[in-house]
Subunit: 361 residues, 2 copies
């Protein structure tokens, strides 16, 4: 069989960044009763968005506006930037793929933290570039070490999520601002702010699109509760955005998602309500861990890393949870993998999780 | 400004394969009353799909199954292939992008017809490969010339849509089968069958996934009326599908679209009803053209190419239609661009089109 794959694709392993809960359900022959492993929101979607999407389904035969004009207009207003400083696409994953493709030549390097978001790594490998990792500082990503590695490797890309996935930790605006200022001239910082709306207090530095050394990524997948709709955006200097527009799939966006996102942006009441609910739910997990004598890392996301002090214990716990119909994940790499990542679920999911978790200790 | 774009992205022009109707509406400050330019279906979606999608919106916070297991299962059964011979993604555009990425090294060549689907060309350019074009034979793509060019240029890829967009013409199964048999060993035929369900009689050759020289592309965008949902699939030898799985965005699919597509596949009554409606509607366009003394090319798609005998006349007609709130497109390249492409619309869209078209002759 001589399929003319590129040398790169021939060299790639058959991997996926994550195994989906449905795959585990099929392997186990049982449906999960609690789905708290994929950082999906348990706090619904904006009623305005739901209504708008319901109304738009009947027009499913129409392609979405390839310029996402109205949505970019609303987001530009929200973030006080220009429309040509925003690129919409079907999820941060898609935007990260485009970013790697447009900024990394094969063989060049991208810097990230060891154990950070695997899909970024997947794209770096997928376009033939090389990953450089720096360790977490405890359970926090280490901006200074990331910048140092970027400089020493002359890496065109450096990735940081703030707040962080999989640990839920964060840095304040001043720290991130300092990191942005130190991005060297040959590089761009990919600042993944997928979880930013969950932060108890503002931690996002001011958006400065005059600086071509940073791309900000925001999504409707997390606080907006629309992961299944696949819609997110990048905010950056207009020259960077013009790069996305040269290579993106202009007709790749789901029209219903586009309409739902617009309705979400215009629903000013929704995110504060989600933030309050998440904050309360997070406190319950912290309290629960504390009662069990376990360390839970303070989080600004919709999940909490709870430390079981050993990778084997954490792994056994994930298995035990799955055996009892609770879908949860854990960080993939040492030393983070002494923790399990407790997603914030509905009340009934949390009740089930608590019982199962206790019985597995 | 020193943005570290790759040399390739720096060299790419700022183009889009198509201008969306919304862009034209914004330029003109007026909404179209007939939208018959983007080959979108005017014949609705399966009621089962609509219901399933309505019911699933409330779970928008969940990612789609990254393996699309149930949908691949249903499609495998439908096409009598194995599940690992199918790859689902967000539209044929996305699948063509992945195909180019996995089978074309920069600088290698892809063969297509001069004036055929621009988004394929966009991806070829976007991954740094080169396009080789062969002329249409009249208003038909020319399988023999395509194969000859594939051989002489040692091109890893050759693209053909059957039925053809933008002309609506087709080749029968025997001709396509012969083309498949002649694909040289270093090459893969990309057989885009986006419009196949509209054909009045079966023209698709039997699917043979033991042959690694062909990838079949099918979509829910056209006959299934779900263009805005962005879901399509490739059928191919499992080694080719494993290539897609190495580089695709595993969590890139819209969950509602996935659910809608599954309901569509299982609705056996829907496509025959659409086919009948399309056939009738096509006959009306042919009849209308004939009454005006114009040549309309017989079509197996949801549009009809009507020949105005000169590119200037065709262009003026598209402008005149837009001036009167009818969105229509025309082939982009000579000699096809003496035609306008009349999309099949609703009854009221067709009525408006007829009046405006006549007044523009």
């Amino acid at each position: 069989m001589t399929i003319p794959f590129t040398a790169l694709v021939n060299s790639l392993p058959a991997t996926t960044p994550f195994v989906g809960p449905e795959t585990i359900e099929r392997q186990r022959g049982a449906i999960f009763s609690a789905r708290i492993g994929a950082n999906e929101s348990a706090f619904g979607i904006s009623p305005n968005a739901l209504k708008a999407m319901q109304d738009s389904l009947i027009n499913s035969s129409w392609y979405a506006d390839p310029e996402s004009h109205e949505l970019r207009q609303a987001l530009a207003e929200k973030h006080n930037v220009s429309m040509d400083e925003i690129c919409i696409d079907s999820g941060i994953d898609t935007l990260l793929g485009l970013t790697v493709r447009m900024l990394l030549e094969p063989g060049q390097k991208a810097v990230t933290s060891l154990g950070a978001y695997p899909t970024f790594n997947y794209h770096v490998a997928g376009f033939g570039a090389q990953l450089v990792t720096v360790p977490y500082n405890g359970f926090h990503e280490d901006p200074e070490a990331l910048i140092a590695a970027t400089k020493s490797h002359k890496a065109p890309l450096v990735y940081l999520s703030n707040p962080d996935n999989p640990m839920g930790t964060w840095h304040g605006a001043a720290t991130i601002d300092q990191m942005i200022n130190e991005v060297p001239e040959h590089s761009v910082l990919l600042l993944d702010e997928a979880y930013i709306e969950f932060a108890d207090r503002p931690i996002a530095p001011a958006i400065d699109t005059s600086n071509p050394r940073v791309i900000r990524y925001r999504t409707f997948s997390k606080a907006y509760g629309m992961a299944g709709q696949r819609i997110a955006y990048a905010i950056a200097h207009k020259d960077l955005i013009s790069g996305f527009n040269k290579i993106r799939n202009h007709f790749g966006l789901n029209r219903v998602a586009q309409i739902g996102a617009l309705a979400s942006v215009n629903d000013n009441a929704f995110i504060p309500a989600v933030r309050a609910a998440v904050s309360k739910s997070r406190a319950q997990v912290m309290q629960f861990a504390s009662e069990l004598g376990l360390y839970a890392e303070p989080s600004f996301t919709n999940f909490v890393a709870v430390n079981l002090e050993s990778a084997d214990r954490a792994k056994a716990m994930i298995e035990h949870l799955a055996d009892n119909r609770v879908f949860m994940r854990m960080p993939g790499v040492a030393p983070l993998n002494s923790c399990v990542r407790v997603g914030l679920g509905s009340e009934s999911e949390f009740d089930l999780f608590r019982d199962v978790f206790k019985s597995g200790l």
